[in-house]
């Protein structure tokens, strides 16, 4: 079977999950991979829980259905844990990456995940506020994703992020985002 | 304006592919070829002695069937007049009378 990675993102509308999924998809493209990235479309309002899905594969992806058993689950907002079962369908040897200050081991226990699974935590919001001056944790969380899974390349991601940001922002914001990504890459812990 | 008249003399024999595509009509202003005068049961007749050439009948006729030449009413287009009687109704000088078809008439155009 070709190398296929399925990622499910949990976030609240406005946290940049859809943009992150898009830049991750573009990064996969530069590695000559195939991808799908789709939001789950529902009542759109700021703060509403949303899901997004990404598939990355070395060969063309011919399936077009929801991701039920992700290899990776990314949670951008800790408060979603009370609202959504973020672990649903996660593969036994999957990894869950969550924006949280809690130590990874504690989070793993709290979520009741098996030993085969991995949990990674990173204070993406804290990093974002330090660097970008806003609680938009999407870029740091991708830094953590890259460190934990290696599914895409860090430098390529950063250059595509810059390209996307340049449309609306100046160099200062791009540098701040780079700092966010790098810090999360370095600070993420896994259990 | 294109010159040649669209020949519809054999239209009753045309096969599906011989009809113009999409039922378009490739000729301008040919509604004039369609004679509607036979729908009438009354026709307008003008009394020249009462007519002041105000042109109101021409303005009101819904079928452009009042014939005007050099800014003067000269008669009616009986090929297209449907005998609605609006011209007679609007003429304030009583110069137009609606006469049942089939009467003996001085001018038949």
């Amino acid at each position: 079977m070709p190398q296929l990675t399925e990622i499910r993102w949990h976030a609240r509308a406005g946290q940049g999950a859809v943009t992150a999924a898009k830049v991750v998809a573009e990064t996969a493209l530069s590695a000559d991979q195939y991808m799908q990235a789709m939001p789950e479309y529902g009542p759109e309002r700021m703060g509403a829980p949303i899901k997004a899905f990404t598939r990355i594969c070395d060969e063309p992806i011919e399936i077009h259905n929801n991701i039920e058993n992700p290899d990776v689950v990314i949670v951008l907002d800790e408060t979603l844990l009370d609202v959504v079962d973020v672990t649903e369908g996660l593969k036994p040897e999957g990894v869950l990456i969550i924006n949280s200050c809690a130590p990874a081991a504690d989070m793993k226990k709290a979520l009741g995940l098996p030993d085969t699974a991995r949990v990674a935590t990173v204070d993406a919001s804290g990093i974002a506020i330090d660097t970008i001056k806003r609680d938009i944790p999407n870029t740091p969380i991708v830094g953590a994703l890259i460190k934990v899974t290696g599914v895409i390349d860090l430098e390529v991601f950063k250059s595509l992020l810059a390209k996307n940001l340049r449309k609306k922002f100046g160099q200062e914001m791009i540098d701040a985002n780079f700092a966010a990504v790098t810090r999360a890459y370095e600070e993420v812990t896994v259990a | 304006m294109s010159g040649k008249k669209w020949d519809v003399s054999k239209m009753d024999e045309w096969t599906a592919e011989e009809f113009p595509r999409g039922a378009t009509i490739p000729e301008a202003g040919n509604s004039a070829d369609y004679v509607t005068g036979g729908w009438r049961s009354e026709r307008p007749v003008r009394d020249e002695s009462k007519c002041t050439q105000c042109l109101l009948c021409w303005i009101f006729c819904p079928d452009t069937s009042v014939r005007v030449e050099g800014e003067e009413v000269v008669g009616f287009d009986y090929d297209h007049c449907k005998g609605c009687g609006i011209c007679a109704h609007e003429c304030t000088f009583g110069a137009i009378e609606m006469v049942p078809e089939g009467c003996d008439l001085p001018e038949v155009k």
Partner: protein
């Protein structure tokens, strides 16, 4: 020899908007409706940025949209538009007008469920409502096909032997909103492929006056006009194949009106339209690796219906499941099933046929449902179990 193309990661809708831009339509009159919206939004952006010189008419409803398109096309313009679901339904009277007037309008449709109840997700109930209206219908499995089909549809529609409007259908959300990988041509290559539109009966050609939208009354000629329409639709199949062959040369991507995978020697075949064909094919591959002779037949051109090609493709199968993403209430089965059954009526050897209505209102087409269908086909062929003529797949 295929031309050089640019590899992109973007959604089906953006690709359709790009196809529109590269075709340089003279007029686009459109109204937004989920999940078509991003097509018209992107295209409107291109117009605003001067990337395409199109008269973009913002109308107040889809009925007005197709009305305006019809007027513009009769005037001699190259016209394209897009809609979905309730919007397509609102245009219903004009669908017939556009084809009756023989206007080569190309419309992209984001396949979406028709109310009631209200549902904005994918199924084929909207597009199937247009199947008798005299429009050519292309169905896309992927974002790439949505782009490719739109370009081919324009060439076919504007072809002097065809002159019929064409629908380029793509699955709502699944294809419209999912980022996918695709190849795009250069603007020059598209311009060369679609060429310039040479209208033969343009209202704006005042040197050759013409009337459009005329009356063909009782005992007159209406029957003959419809026969001409039937002839045009029948002969469009040849044009679709020729244009498809040319496109295959240009793109390096094969084109056929139906696409069989493993059907040459398959015992069990799933027939489907759109993105579901990919899911079925994925499962068929798995089954083949286990020695089960599974196959998938994807229908890419629905109108004109390739009944000869389909009958040939399904001739040797033991059991065939026709997957319908729409129902035809009161009929023996869904729209695709009825057409497939009819196509097989005269065949010497006919496979057993089952109809599955599935995925309505965006119900997820899980891979185990495809497994269930193939399993049913095996049971049916072995005489073990009859799933019934019509099954609502995955319903409670």
């Amino acid at each position: 020899m295929a031309v050089e193309q640019k590899t992109v990661a973007t959604t089906g809708n953006v690709l359709v908007a790009e196809a529109f831009r590269q075709c340089e339509p003279d007029v686009v009159a459109a109204y937004p409706i989920t999940p078509q919206t991003t097509i018209v939004e992107e295209f409107a952006k291109f117009v605003a940025q001067g990337k395409v010189h199109t008269d973009y008419v913002t109308v107040e409803s889809e009925h007005s949209a197709l009305s305006a398109c019809i007027g513009a096309s009769a005037a001699g313009a190259r016209v394209m538009t897009a809609t979905s679901s309730q919007g397509l339904a609102l245009m219903w009277e004009e669908l017939h007008i556009a084809s009756g007037m023989r206007l080569p309008i190309v419309m992209a449709n984001a396949n979406r469920a028709l109310s009631a109840p209200i549902n904005i997700h994918c199924d084929h109930s909207d597009i199937m409502g247009a199947r008798d209206a005299g429009w050519i219908m292309y169905f896309a499995e992927t974002a790439q096909e949505a782009y490719d089909n739109t370009l081919m549809a324009l060439r076919v529609a504007e072809h002097p032997d065809v002159l019929l409007p064409a629908l380029s259908a793509l699955d709502g959300f699944i294809t419209t909103h999912s980022i996918d990988r695709a190849e795009m041509f250069s603007d020059e290559d598209v311009a060369a492929f679609v060429g310039e539109y040479e209208p033969e009966r343009a209202l704006l050609d005042v040197a050759n006056p013409v009337s459009h939208g005329t009356f063909a009354g009782l005992g007159g000629t209406f029957l003959e006009f419809k026969k001409a329409e039937r002839n045009a639709m029948d002969s469009s199949m040849g044009v679709i194949k020729d244009v498809g062959a040319e496109f295959a040369e240009l793109s390096g991507r094969p084109f056929d009106v139906i696409e069989g995978w493993g059907v040459e020697d398959a015992d069990y075949v799933i027939v489907a339209l759109g993105s579901t064909a990919g899911n079925a094919r994925h499962v068929a591959r798995e089954l083949r690796s286990q020695g089960i002779k599974a196959g998938v037949l994807k229908i890419r051109i629905f109108r004109p219906f390739p009944f000869t090609e389909i009958a040939e493709a399904l001739a040797s199968a033991k059991a065939v499941a026709v997957l319908d993403r729409a129902d035809s209430f009161g009929a023996e089965g869904g729209p695709l099933f009825l057409e497939i059954r009819s196509a097989l009526f005269d065949a010497q050897k006919r496979p057993a046929l089952v109809n599955y209505v599935y995925g309505l209102g965006g119900a997820d087409v899980r891979l185990e449902l495809m497994h269930q269908v193939f399993g049913d086909l095996a049971d049916l062929a072995d005489g073990v179990h009859e799933p019934g003529r019509l099954v609502y797949l995955g319903a409670r």
